[in-house]
């Protein structure tokens, strides 16, 4: 594919020094529900309504919000797996909206995904070695066996894991496999969709630390999506709070956590269970009453 940058794709970076890893401008995405009436078309669902943000190279960016707020839609658009209804997305300064699959090769090389459910994100019929090697095969890399062994070691799995099937591993280990696969083509951006939500609390910290360490070591840009603010606080420098398809607040993690500006953020933070609150008898029902705007 043509790799030479055109004037349009360079534009955002040419003035501001280093190019942003990801820049999202006024992205909307509407879905159509199946018709329920013969006479009227069904009303569209606005999954995203005017989302904008930029993520500089090397930043760990968190996106927080409840389920159904549009997080996953946003991720799919970032990864070039879905198209926005309007607005634009640029990866490393190159606009990816409206590109054909063949033109998206640079996105496939630079951006990789880690999914929420380590059960369904690994093909049950493939050996772990083949799963991890898949991006390498797709992108025509050489020396795949060595690279796979290296990756499995990097995520803390034994080398013989390559010959086994995903169901022979625990949830935490499967998520490690998923991370190894994402790192295989040496991407610069990792997009993680609730990577620890499906895991036991006991292995969550391990997987989070693994992600954080690898991101540091390989100086990656991380987009980390979660409904759990405490998890995001653990990993991210900056955070955006999403609600109803919009970003309601953006800021450094500490700032958002210590001085939340938006009422929704305040509710979200209050929802994080703490030992003190539990001992003083706060229940989930109190949250809505106390923090509703």
């Amino acid at each position: 594919m043509a790799e030479q940058p055109t004037s349009a794709t360079l534009a955002p970076g040419s003035k501001t020094g280093p190019v942003d890893a990801i820049s999202v401008r006024d992205v909307t995405r509407d879905y159509r529900r199946p018709r329920t009436s013969l006479l009227r078309p069904s009303p569209p669902v606005h999954a995203l309504r005017g989302v904008s943000f930029t993520i500089p190279q090397g930043q760990r960016f968190g996106i927080v919000g409840e389920s159904g707020c549009g997080k996953s839609t946003l991720l799919r658009i970032l990864a070039g797996l879905d198209r926005p209804t309007s607005g634009s997305v640029a990866i490393d300064g190159r606009d990816i909206t409206g590109l054909r699959e063949r033109q998206l090769r640079f996105v496939r090389e630079r951006l990789q995904l880690v999914f929420q459910d380590p059960m369904s994100s690994l093909d049950p019929r493939m050996r772990v070695g083949d799963i991890v090697a898949e991006p390498l095969v797709a992108q025509g890399h050489r020396n795949r066996r060595e690279r796979v062994a290296e990756l499995l070691e990097a995520v803390g799995l034994q080398a013989d894991a390559a010959d086994r099937y995903p169901h022979q591993f625990s949830g935490g280990q499967r998520q490690r496999i998923s991370i190894a696969r994402a790192l295989a083509p040496r991407p610069k951006i990792i997009v993680a969709d609730e990577p620890v939500s499906a895991l036991d609390v006991s292995v969550r910290a391990q997987v989070l630390n693994l992600i954080a360490d690898l991101v540091d070591e390989l100086s990656l840009t991380l987009v980390f999506v979660s409904h759990d603010l405490s998890v995001v606080r653990h990993v991210c420098d900056r955070v955006a709070v999403m609600h109803d398809g919009q970003i309601v607040e953006t800021g450094s993690t500490e700032q958002v956590y210590e001085e939340p500006q938006h009422s929704y953020t305040r509710r979200l933070i209050a929802a994080v269970p703490t030992l003190g609150k539990a001992l003083s008898g706060v229940s989930a029902a109190d949250l809505n009453r106390e923090y509703r705007p």
Binding site: R76, A79, G80, L81, E101, R105, R108, E109, L111, Q112, L113, F115, Q116, D117, S120, S121, L122, D123, P124, R125, M126, I131, E134, P135, V137, A138, Q139, G156, L157, Q158, A161, D163, R164, Y165, H167, Q168, F169, S170, G172, Q173, S178, R181, P185, S202, V203, Q206
Partner: protein, 292 residues
């Protein structure tokens, strides 16, 4: 770090599915055995049969089972056991041709219809429904009228008539597979649609293919019997279990054993292929591997 070690310990405790020999499922064993017997009979018939299965011998008409004629003889004096041996060839041929045609066309069709844009998939499936509405035996009779009665012609027709069953089933499986995160991961890794179809969809719908193939095999054997019975299938003198059954019809009150032997052969072979299909499905599903 200690928590990591615990995880590793748990992993090594999980048995290695490749090395450990699992007890064989009963259905696989029995099905495999029956199918091997049918296969053995067919192979044996190439080198040895007690008598010439097509030899008409008026002096030995309707013999009862004896050391000379193990299963007796029919109204023309032909040895029933020899005919059964030769007939197993027809049965296997019939199954492989019909299932082969149906699977070779139906599986790719189903996968394409499941992966293609929605409107195209729907279009393919509506065409599929048209074919599905057409009775298999009627199609076979039409083929026989145009191309002449014969085992191959009949079975290609049965195979064509079975394509929609495969396509519909495989499309359903494909739609499910395409929604999974591992397919999204493969797309994000840069895999093209062809590779996704071959490496992810096909292996994950293979258990459906195996089960449908075993059912299709059984249906084909029955269809061959029915067509031969009607005179549109295997033409004489080639022995076929279906035609043996038909020829025994007029003797049903005087020599019921002539219907019993081919009848049992058909029933047991059909059962065997069904059991084998079930057993293979369980065996090939790695998720079921450790639960047994």
């Amino acid at each position: 770090m200690s928590a990591l070690d615990t995880e590793a310990a748990v992993a090594s405790a999980v048995p290695d599915g490749r090395r450990r020999r699992r007890p064989m499922a009963g259905s696989l064993l029995v099905g495999g055995l029956i199918v091997s017997v049918v296969l053995g009979m067919a192979l044996l018939s190439f080198v040895w049969t007690p008598h010439d299965p097509t030899l008409v011998n008026p002096s030995a008409r309707l013999e009862k089972p004896s050391l000379e004629y193990w299963f007796g003889t029919d109204k023309f004096g032909r040895d029933v056991f020899s005919q059964l041996l030769m007939g197993s060839r027809t049965t296997l041929f019939v199954g492989f041709v019909a299932v082969g045609v149906a699977a070779l066309v139906g599986v790719p069709l189903g996968i394409v219809a499941g992966m293609a844009p929605r409107w195209f998939g729907e279009l393919l499936m509506r065409g599929n429904d048209l074919l599905l509405a057409f009775p298999a035996l009627l199609l076979a009779i039409m083929f026989a009228a145009v191309y002449g009665a014969g085992t191959l012609v009949a079975m290609v027709a049965i195979g064509i008539a079975s394509i929609p069953n495969f396509a519909r089933l495989i499309r359903g499986g494909t739609l499910q597979v395409m929604k999974t995160e591992y397919v999204i991961a493969a797309r994000a890794a840069g895999r093209g649609p062809f590779a996704i179809g071959l490496r992810h969809v096909l292996p994950n719908v293979s258990s459906l293919v195996i089960v449908q193939a075993s059912v299709g095999f059984a249906i084909a054997v029955l269809a061959e019997a029915a067509l031969s019975f009607l005179g549109f299938g295997t033409p004489p003198p080639t022995p076929s279990w279906g035609r043996m059954l038909q020829e025994s019809q007029e003797m049903l009150s005087s020599a019921p054993r002539l219907a019993v032997f081919p009848g049992i052969a058909i029933a047991v072979a059909v059962l065997g292929f069904n059991l084998l299909g079930d057993g293979l499905r369980d065996r090939f599903d790695p998720k079921l591997e450790d639960r047994r």
